[in-house]
């Protein structure tokens, strides 16, 4: 089912040459390695939902059907895993965080930070400014197909300018935070922000 308009691109420039596209300490892979902090949840679209939350209060919630009916965006981006692989030109489709905020009637984000909560209890923290202005989406399709469960399907965060552990698999909820808080890996020695171009792998980098 695809009757909503599809727009293209995360905004921003694409570095021109291949060398300029591989951050320090990374190597290219053609595969798509799977790294999971827990078991792959069974995808149940009937009971799936995605919610926006501010502290304890619910701002908006979409069922799978409602989510798929939101305006869709396609992007081609490079991804960088902290375990040192990078993959160029990956194609994704989903709903940008801008679109979600707009659909929720938010003129502007209520707080500066966010925690993404996932099936299985995984969490990751991202500043809101790294999620908006076309920088991130909740992705539901990869290379033209529904996102496979082992890669985070039915839906994962895609925030490709940060290390890929931030692109949380099985995303279900975005919770606004007044102050930044560490998520699953960030609380165990990984960098609170995770910029691959500044090689922010570990706390203190």
């Amino acid at each position: 089912m695809q009757d909503s308009p599809i727009s293209r691109g995360f905004r921003g420039r694409r570095p021109p040459a291949r060398n300029d596209r591989v951050p320090p300490g990374q190597h290219l892979t053609e595969d798509f390695p799977v790294l999971s902090a827990g078991p792959t949840p069974a995808a149940k679209l009937g009971s799936w939902s995605f919610a926006l939350q501010d502290g304890g209060s619910l701002l908006a919630k979409w069922s799978w059907q409602e989510f798929e009916a939101l305006p869709q965006t396609e992007v081609t981006v490079d991804i960088h895993c902290v375990t040192t692989w990078s993959k160029l030109d990956t194609h994704w489709r989903g709903v940008t965080i801008d679109t979600l905020f707009e659909a929720a009637g938010l003129d502007e984000p209520p707080e500066a930070f966010a925690m993404i909560h996932c099936d299985g209890g995984y969490t990751t923290n991202v500043p809101v400014e790294d999620l908006i202005d076309g920088k991130a989406m909740i992705a539901t399709h990869y290379e033209g197909k529904p996102l496979a469960p082992e890669h985070g399907g039915p839906a994962r965060l895609l925030v490709p300018h940060l290390y890929f552990w931030k692109s949380a698999k099985w995303a279900r909820r975005l919770r606004f935070l007044e102050a930044d808080e560490p998520g699953f890996w960030e609380s165990l020695g990984y960098h609170i922000y995770g910029d691959p171009w500044r090689e922010q792998r570990y706390a203190g980098d």
């Binding site: 390695p33 799977v34 375990t83 165990l188 020695g189 990984y190």
Partner: protein, 97 residues
């Protein structure tokens, strides 16, 4: 807990004072130590948990309820350990010969 038997307040000691005990706690054959899950109460050897996390670190989950019992990463500055999902860790004495 900050009172001794006489009821008088005893300030906390420097954490270094526990060095002897801690060294005993963390030098053991880990895989045979018994973890009790804070989620479901199941107890079993670390070797019987399920390991996730790949190259980022070890996430040992309860085989019964998937609670993350123990998480360990190695970073540039040292080893990080989180045991929030474990109620206890038992390091059994070797059986008497």
């Amino acid at each position: 807990m900050d009172h001794d038997d006489s009821g008088a307040f005893q300030g906390p000691l420097d954490g270094n004072s526990a060095a002897g005990l801690l060294q005993e706690v963390f030098v053991f054959e880990a895989t045979s130590a018994i973890l009790t899950c804070a989620g479901c109460g199941a107890a079993g050897p670390i070797g019987a948990t399920r390991l996730y996390g790949g190259a980022m670190g070890a996430v040992l989950r309860c085989a019964h309820c998937d609670t993350a019992l123990l998480r360990v990463t190695r970073t540039e500055i040292g080893i990080w350990l989180d045991m929030q999902g474990a109620r206890s860790l038992l390091m059994r004495d070797a059986p008497a010969a």
